[in-house]
């Protein structure tokens, strides 16, 4: 099908874009990579009366180091996660996860900020933002504010952004020493929506006991789902088969809330979460142990 008519603006500065957002708050949609928005418009599931295209705004797609942080512009293409050396230096978890995000043709256009703001529970980037404890910078005409990833995702396709705000930047801080990572998902075919997926990030102390842990799941509820109780089981303990087993059980049986869909039952999703948690925890821990 074809999209319903809309007015189109392509500002070349963020100030101009924010002016449009304040003028059309509520009726305008931001066009970033368009890889989720345009299909929804073609189906007429979404019919914005105004589209504000950020593709011509200068400076929104840069990845740079600043002080002790990595700043990723919201319009950075998903494809860049695979190849930018700064990303592999600061967040190898992103490099590992990126090839799972749809297909190369989609990643060439799709943006990091767009996927975060879309907040699809089955998407990888919201999960990764939570796992990496990212901070997200939102702007409107009157100023800017930082929102922690854990406060950003409010539910199904819903975020903490106000109607006149634009997500402009993602900030990552360096992981502590002795941190290991893993991202795993199961999809019917490469590039399809995953039935279940997990991002694991663990930090060990000098004796090899877990100091910090993040376990975040996709397609496991109405947003990215963090298994906080399961994470707590790990803290202060050394890795053991029993510990990994009980952590995976905790996360998959009591913390996630998968709905099932045409391809899978919730029971199968829980089974996948259990298996993926064990595998991802083992891999993340092994990677962290290399720094001991």
């Amino acid at each position: 099908m074809k999209p319903a008519p809309f007015e189109y603006y392509a500002p070349d500065s963020i100030e101009q874009a924010l002016d449009f957002m304040s003028q059309y708050a509520g009726e305008a949609k931001i066009l970033a990579g368009g890889q989720s928005l345009v299909p929804a418009m073609n189906f007429r599931i979404v019919q914005p009366s105004v589209l504000i295209d950020l593709n011509r705004v200068a400076g929104l797609g840069q990845v740079r180091e600043e002080a002790s942080t990595l700043r990723i512009g919201a319009m950075t293409r998903e494809r860049e996660l695979e190849f930018n050396p700064l990303i592999s230096k600061w967040a190898p978890l992103l490099v590992e996860a990126a090839p799972h995000i749809a297909h190369p043709q989609i990643r060439n256009r799709g943006t990091i900020g767009g996927s975060i703001v879309n907040a699809d529970p089955a998407a990888e980037l919201p999960v990764l933002m939570l796992a990496l404890r990212a901070r997200l910078k939102a702007k409107n005409v009157s100023g800017e504010r930082w929102v922690e990833a854990q406060d950003f995702f409010m539910g199904m396709f819903t975020t903490a952004l106000e109607p006149d705000e634009i997500l402009v930047e993602i900030e990552l801080t360096a992981s502590p020493p002795r941190t290991g990572w893993s991202f795993m998902e199961v999809a019917p075919r490469a590039g399809d929506y995953a039935l279940m997926g997990v991002a694991a990030l663990v930090t060990l102390d000098q004796t090899g006991k877990y100091e910090q842990a993040k376990l975040v799941y996709l397609n496991a509820g109405d947003g990215p789902v963090e298994a906080k109780e399961a994470e707590k089981l790990l803290i202060g303990e050394p890795m053991s088969e029993h510990l990994i087993e009980s952590t995976a059980s905790k996360a998959s049986e009591t913390e996630i809330n998968p709905f099932g869909n045409i391809h899978t039952s919730p029971e199968f999703q829980r089974h996948l979460a259990n298996v993926l948690t064990k595998k991802a925890l083992q891999q993340a821990t092994q990677r962290a142990e290399e720094f001991l």
Partner: protein, 170 residues
């Protein structure tokens, strides 16, 4: 009155100026406004890959972009693979007018198509892939093709064609 925006787009090294309504998809612009019907439209929601083109030399779904977004940009469609009377930047050694690009030739020889509907999108996906991965493994080929649906071939002959193309393009 719907909004009408003047755009200038370079497609296969030729410059086109048109006035378009913002909601016009790039795929429809190429087919209906420019008459470049080699770009096929399958699903119109980014799943089938039939409409894949090169946008600034990178593969992209033309059904997931608006024509207005292409203003000032460079696009290559499947028609741009075959050298025309004006020189093509994709022209390869030994290829002359009316002949096929080595990738197309490989599809011909290895029976990489049956009905051919998905073929233009597959070719445009493979051009940057083979540039980046000149010696692809079967697994890499299948992964690269995962965003393009073919309902005829079962993919085996497409994979064979890609292997042959990689040989030819060395």
């Amino acid at each position: 009155m719907p909004q009408s925006i003047s755009i200038t787009v370079t497609v296969n090294e030729r410059e086109y100026k048109r006035a378009v309504e913002p909601r016009l998809l790039l795929s429809d612009f190429l087919r209906h406004e420019l008459g470049l019907t080699g770009t096929h439209v399958g699903c119109e929601h980014g799943v089938c890959g039939a409409c894949t083109i090169l946008f600034e030399s990178e593969s992209a779904r033309s059904c997931l972009m608006f024509a207005v977004q292409a203003d000032g940009h460079n696009i290559t469609t499947v028609e741009g693979l075959v050298p025309s009377s004006s020189s093509s930047h994709l022209r390869t050694e030994g290829a002359s007018e009316g002949s096929l690009h080595p990738l197309q030739q490989a599809f011909w020889e290895a029976h990489g198509l049956q009905c051919g509907y998905c073929t233009p999108g597959i070719l445009m996906t493979l051009i940057p892939f083979l540039k980046q991965t000149p010696n692809p493994s079967e697994e890499e080929i299948r992964h690269a093709l995962s965003g393009n649906l073919c309902r005829c071939t079962g993919y085996q002959h497409i994979v064979d064609a890609v292997k042959l193309a990689a040989e030819k393009m060395k």
